[in-house]
Subunit: 139 residues, 2 copies
């Protein structure tokens, strides 16, 4: 299950994201209750040096090997340091959610990953956009 | 290559998205030049009935089999009908782009899919977030 905790170094979080085939990371508290979902592109945006985001053309003049810049740029920051101050609504459903409900939550969050939580709010699974579409279309 | 044209029925576009493992669709013109990239979650949002987006809890009261609602709701609309009026900046790079440049373009667009275009602006490939991270981290 692709969860990370807030105290995990951001560099490690990027590696977790890369090592799995999921489109984002679910951030959980120490009791395994989802706090927020970080889309992979959000993580990328938070990790990139500011000058790259302002003008991608500038990134071209940086040497190719400078991709390491991204990991180095994360420095000692943790996942908590990367999270926006105002956290977006947690995309989560309970185990009884219908396909349409999952689709609605996913569409609202704009992140292709929804946490499934038990009654005590602990995480019991995750649903990706791919999984949802497969379920919807029977593919 | 996961491209669709503007005249493709939206129902078919959802099936193309489901049939592949890419996180979105690249919309091309008749000469195979990318026009815009639709993230899977964007497609979902555009396809869902409005009442589901306003309040996911309402979606729960709809019968499970009503997931078909989504496809039926698309009706006769085409991909062009689904695209927002003001199209966001096309996430595209040329074949000489550096890893950092691809990351910058992807972070700006917030879509984990970037088109790679030739000098004549025709599409020659696509880079996903997964592919980018694998390249960056050597995984």
């Amino acid at each position: 299950m692709s969860t990370v905790t807030e105290d995990l170094p951001a560099r490690e979080a990027v590696k977790v994201l890369a090592a799995q085939d999921l489109p984002g990371l679910i951030v959980v508290d120490p009791r395994n209750r989802p706090l927020t979902v970080l889309a992979g592109t959000q993580l990328l945006r938070l990790a990139l040096p500011a000058y790259c985001q302002d003008d991608p053309a500038l990134a071209r003049v940086v040497d190719e090997a400078a991709a390491d810049l991204i990991l180095d740029g994360l420095g000692e920051r943790t996942v908590a340091d990367l999270l926006p101050r105002t956290r977006p609504e947690l995309p989560a459903v309970d185990a009884a959610a219908t396909v349409l409900e999952v689709a609605s939550v996913m569409a609202r969050s704009n992140v292709p990953l929804v946490a499934v939580v038990a009654k005590d709010k602990t995480m019991i699974g995750a649903i990706t956009l791919d999984g949802l579409l497969d379920r919807m279309l029977g593919t």
